[in-house]
C-alpha cells in the first residue's frame, strides 16, 4: 500500500512517514500542494493522502479542492494533518472533501487510529 504525505516541513514529513513505514506503507512525499498534484499525476493513486493545511505555493485546502475536482481522484481517502484546530476549519476541510482530520501534535497511535477509521490499515 502507498501513502502520499504532503507537508512543507521535512521534519513533519519524516515523522509521519516513519509511522506509516512502521505499519507497512510505502511513502511518497511532496513539499506543498502543487508538488502533491504532480506526484499524483506522475505516480498514480495512492491508498491514502495525508496533507498539511498551511503551506507555500498551494495550501492543503486548495489541494483537497483540486483533487476532488478530478473524477479519478475523488475516492482517494484523504486526511488533513494540521495545527488548524478550530471547528470552523475542520468543517471547511471536510466540506472541501477531506475524509478525516488529525490535529498536530499527535502520537503514532492517534495516526494509526485515524487510518483505521479510513479503512486503510494493513491488517
Amino acid at each position: 500500500m502507498r501513502a502520499l504525505v504532503i507537508d512543507d516541513s521535512a521534519a513533519m514529513r519524516n515523522i509521519i512517514s516513519r509511522s506509516l513505514v512502521t505499519i507497512g506503507f510505502d511513502v511518497m512525499q511532496a513539499v506543498h500542494g502543487r508538488d502533491g498534484l504532480e506526484k499524483l499525476k506522475s505516480y498514480g493513486k495512492p491508498e491514502v493522502i495525508l496533507v498539511d493545511w498551511n503551506m507555500p505555493e498551494m495550501n492543503g485546502y486548495e489541494f483537497i479542492k483540486a483533487v476532488r475536482a478530478i473524477e479519478a481522484w475523488r475516492d482517494i481517502p484523504l486526511m488533513m494533518v494540521t495545527t488548524e484546530t478550530e471547528t470552523s476549519q475542520v468543517v471547511r476541510a471536510l466540506a472541501a472533501g477531506a475524509n478525516e482530520y488529525l490535529m498536530k501534535p499527535f502520537t503514532p497511535e492517534m495516526l494509526s487510529e485515524k487510518l483505521a477509521i479510513l479503512g486503510v490499515t494493513m491488517s
Binding site: 521535512a10 521534519a11 513533519m12 515523522i15 516513519r18 498536530k104 499527535f106
Partner: protein
C-alpha cells in the same frame, strides 16, 4: 499580567511529549524574560482580530535534541536546514494550537527561523504579554507571546 500562560504551557508540553518525545521539567510563567543564551529563534506571526506573534527561543544543544528526534538522526548528522525546519515546525505547532484560543478569527503565518539575535526585536511594535521560562533536562528555553501595539503616528 500574563495572558493564556497556562494554555501555552499545556500546548507546549503536548508538543514536547507527543511529537518530540521530550519532557519539560520546569516551567515558570510570567512576563519577565530570564537572562539566558538562546541561539535559535522560531517565530510565527498572528494576524486577524488579535495580532501578535509567538516565539520559541532555544540554545543549539536543545534544538539538536529536538531535530534528532524529528529526523531520526544523530546530532552531528543534522544540517543547518534541518535544524531550521525542526524549530519552524515546533513553533508552528505551538502557535497553531494557541491561535484557536485567541479571540475572534485569526490567521497564522508560515514560521520564520533565525540564528542569533534578540527575539524581542523580531516583532516590531509589539509588547511581551506572556513568557514561559522552561527547561528540558536542565536546558533552558523560552516561549513568548507578544501582542501588536499601534505604530507611532508619523511626524
Amino acid at each position: 499580567m500574563q495572558f493564556l500562560g497556562e494554555e501555552i504551557r499545556q500546548t507546549t508540553e503536548s508538543v514536547w511529549n507527543s511529537i518530540l518525545g521530550l519532557c519539560i521539567d520546569a516551567t515558570e510563567i510570567g512576563v519577565e524574560h530570564a537572562a539566558r543564551t538562546e541561539d535559535w529563534i522560531g517565530c510565527v506571526q498572528i494576524a486577524g482580530e488579535w495580532g501578535g506573534a509567538l516565539v520559541v527561543a532555544c540554545p543549539t544543544v536543545l534544538l539538536e535534541r529536538i531535530a534528532s528526534g524529528m529526523f531520526g538522526k544523530q546530532a552531528n548528522e543534522l544540517t543547518p536546514d534541518e535544524l531550521r525546519d525542526a524549530l519552524g515546525e515546533t513553533t508552528n505547532m505551538v502557535g497553531g494550537n494557541l491561535k484557536a484560543l485567541l479571540p475572534g478569527v485569526c490567521f497564522l503565518s508560515l514560521p520564520a527561523v533565525s540564528h542569533g539575535g534578540d527575539w524581542k526585536k523580531k516583532v516590531p511594535y509589539a509588547r511581551l504579554v506572556t513568557i514561559l521560562n522552561c527547561t528540558t533536562d536542565g536546558v533552558p528555553f523560552t516561549i513568548a507571546l507578544l501582542e501588536k501595539t499601534p505604530r507611532p503616528a508619523q511626524a
